[in-house]
């Protein structure tokens, strides 16, 4: 029982991270029918920019190790804001370099261009930060909360709380605000949206900024768990992509649910045989795709000929 509770606690934080990134896939897919295949690389500046800013603020070189005392909650909050802004801006560059030339055109050029953009980003980070990883202390310390024998770290709770808050916030923005309505209008029918006076390109750029910013946020949130390095993003983003597919790429709530589902399945399968985790997850994806091609919560799209 304790073991299952422990697995759930451990799966929660990673699931939240998958959900955040999956939501980023949803937002751009809904508006442009494209998404960033290089999203994993966007976690890299997310974590490293934030950590380096904290390092520089305490007078250390941009690459090094932080002592727990130097990682105050204030420093971490500011680092998070900076990471989100920087990676959001990179999202604009992504749109102009890798999406705009190909959007609406037939073929899969945007797949390769987004992968390429991610590789450029990752290698730029490699040139700046080098290949070694930076251990990042959590601003909430290294203690452990105990619930019925299972341990969970304050930072894992923070990850889940921030992720859920951001998801709920975005959900409200998408459903209630003018911006959200514009986003949904573009997603529904770009031509019609343009006729009623919505600046479609502006909306699409905003979608990519939000999507990238979510990856940046995921990067800085996860850094105290995984350490910050140039190599953190790929595995996480692949799981997040799977979460989006399982939950339904067209449904933001489905993407979030998919993230948590994957995180928890991963932890529970690990209880049985750790080496079967990936097998279980990708089997699940195949089964879901066979039974519900649009994902668990996705809406069926009818292709009109």
């Amino acid at each position: 029982m304790t073991a299952i509770l422990q697995a759930l606690a451990s799966g929660l934080a990673l699931g939240a991270i998958y959900g955040l990134i999956a939501l980023g896939f949803n937002i751009t897919y809904a508006t442009t029918k494209t998404f960033n295949f290089g999203q994993g690389a966007f976690l890299v500046p997310g974590s490293l920019v934030g950590v380096s800013l904290v390092l520089l603020s305490v007078g250390k070189p941009h690459f090094g190790n932080l002592s727990p005392a130097e990682m105050t909650f204030m420093a971490y909050t500011l680092a998070t804001v900076a990471s989100v802004v920087v990676v959001g801006l990179i999202g604009i560059a992504l749109y102009y370099c890798a999406i705009k030339p190909f959007v609406g055109a037939a073929g899969l050029n945007w797949v390769l261009s987004t992968i390429g953009f991610g590789i450029i980003l990752q290698n730029t980070a490699l040139a700046i930060w080098g290949p070694a990883s930076i251990a990042v202390p959590s601003p909430l310390g290294s203690g452990v909360y105990r619930i019925a024998g299972a341990g969970i770290r304050p930072h894992e709770v923070l990850i889940a709380a921030v992720a859920i808050a951001v998801m709920v916030g975005l959900d409200i923005v998408l459903r209630k605000t003018r911006l959200g309505k514009a986003l949904r209008a573009v997603a529904f029918n770009p031509q019609a949206a343009s006729i009623v006076g919505i600046n479609v390109e502006r909306i699409v750029i905003i979608a990519f900024v939000i999507s990238s910013a979510l990856a940046g946020l995921a990067g800085i949130l996860i850094a105290p768990v995984t350490t910050a390095s140039v190599f953190i993003g790929l595995g996480v983003a692949l799981k997040a992509f799977s979460a989006a597919i399982v939950g339904g790429l067209t449904n933001p709530r489905g993407c979030m649910a998919g993230g948590f589902l994957l995180g928890i399945i991963e932890a529970l399968v690990g209880l049985w045989r750790a080496e079967f985790r990936e097998i279980a997850i990708f089997l699940l994806i195949i089964i879901v795709l066979v039974i519900r091609p649009a994902g668990l919560f996705g809406t069926k799209t009818v292709e009109k000929i």
């Binding site: 073991a3 422990q6 070694a132 990883s133 452990v144 341990g151 190599f231 595995g235 209880l271």
Partner: protein, 399 residues
């Protein structure tokens, strides 16, 4: 240490960051190559500290007039843990720099990628960090094997850990946890064989992915099986995550690990207090003998952030052995130097005085009898000397 080959494109970057030798070589100087990861993998710190020891030994030899009346010159290369870069460095050191011998590498995988080069070109190599058991064995049957080592050998350090685990466990409930890399899995295989020699079947054998950060589910199974000694077959970063998961579960069996735990990722990821909870194998520590203390002080004065003294001592001793062999051979000819290495008398090193360290059949200067157990205490590595360690006899060191 095993290679971390997932860092393939680290090679691209590394090619732009070739280190220049500290001193320009003059005609007649003897060049010694150094090819080791000093920047990329979880074991990079061993390569970096190894370089400090390597350079210190060359300084000391030159202060006493060099070898054969000629100055020794270090030619330093960083392979960033990437096998292609390591191969390129090796060719360059041998063909362009014409080094008399090479010390390195950090990662066993890199060594396995280029062992054939020095072997074919007849340049002696002393591995001062890489630990893969079969490295020195590959060319053992050739008329001359050019691969030597003065480092920990995986099988030998696992023998020490197993002996400790068997003594320390109350009901012989020993478990193994290792990552799925080549390093982790070959450690698991060695451990299973060694424990079998002790007549012990582990109560659990668990694995985890190389980038996993949560091993609570694996540890839950070991806890349920009643394991009170767990042997970790991973590098520092993974062992640190194992410790963090143990902390989450409030389950603290004795955790034994290989010398990778000497690297600072253990401290940085697990935190200094938690890091003290693993006992690991080491060939020497700064407090092991007066010469070690003196070298450690001298290097720390120059490099206050020197991470791992143990590989500095091994790097130092590697140069001493090469210098003694060149002196004995009266030449820098690789064939003669390799033969001289196999026929050395007593050579003073930091770890010990090597008495006939190598022979035709034995290319390991250090064995399980030279190793001891160590632990982090208040941010420094200290020798472990408890009742269990004292009770280990030579007969317990089954391998």
């Amino acid at each position: 240490m095993n290679t971390i080959s997932r860092r393939t494109f680290a090679a691209l970057m590394a090619s732009a960051a070739v280190f220049a030798g500290p001193a320009l070589a003059q005609q007649g100087d003897i060049k010694i190559g150094y090819n080791a990861d000093q920047s990329a993998s979880g074991a990079a710190e061993l390569g970096l500290s190894g370089r400090y020891g390597f350079e210190a030994a060359i300084e000391d030899i030159n202060a006493k007039g060099g070898v054969l009346g000629r100055k020794l010159v270090a030619v330093i290369r960083d392979d960033a843990a990437a096998p292609p870069k390591s191969i390129q460095n090796m060719n360059e050191l041998i063909d362009n720099e014409k080094v008399a011998a090479v010390v390195g590498p950090t990662n066993s995988g890199n060594a396995l990628a280029w062992l054939h080069i020095p072997q074919q070109k007849k340049v002696p190599v002393i591995s001062h960090v890489a630990t893969a058991t079969d490295m020195t064995a590959r060319y053992a049957k050739e008329s001359q094997n050019y691969i030597f080592r003065v480092s920990m050998v995986d099988r030998e350090q696992l023998a020490l850990l197993s002996a400790y685990a068997v003594k320390a466990s109350k009901d012989k409930k020993i478990a193994i946890i290792a990552d799925t890399t080549g390093y982790g899995q070959s450690a698991t295989k060695d451990l299973l064989e060694i424990l079998a020699l002790h007549g012990v079947t582990p109560v659990g054998v668990e694995k985890f992915g190389p980038k996993d950060t949560d091993m609570t589910s694996q540890l839950a199974k070991l806890k349920a099986a009643g394991a009170d000694m767990v042997i970790s077959g991973s590098l520092a970063d993974a062992t640190a995550q194992v410790l963090k998961s143990m902390e989450k579960m409030d389950y603290y069996p004795g955790l034994l690990s290989t010398w990778g735990s000497i690297n600072s990722p253990l401290i940085n990821i697990a935190g200094p207090k938690l890091a003290e909870k693993t006992i690991f194998a080491a060939s020497t520590t700064a407090d092991a003998n007066p010469k070690a203390t003196a070298l450690s002080k001298r290097l720390l004065a120059k490099y206050p952030n020197m991470p791992a003294f143990v590989s500095a001592a091994q790097g130092y001793d590697a140069v001493m052995l090469i210098a003694a062999a060149i002196t004995k051979a009266g030449s820098t000819d690789g064939e003669k130097v390799a033969a001289a290495l196999e026929d050395l008398g007593a050579v003073d090193g930091i770890i010990k005085t090597y008495n006939k360290p190598y022979s035709k059949a034995n290319h390991e200067a250090l064995g399980v009898a030279d190793f001891h157990l160590a632990q982090w205490k208040d941010g420094v590595v200290v020798k472990l000397d408890n009742a269990v360690v004292k009770s280990i006899t030579a007969a317990d060191l089954k391998r």
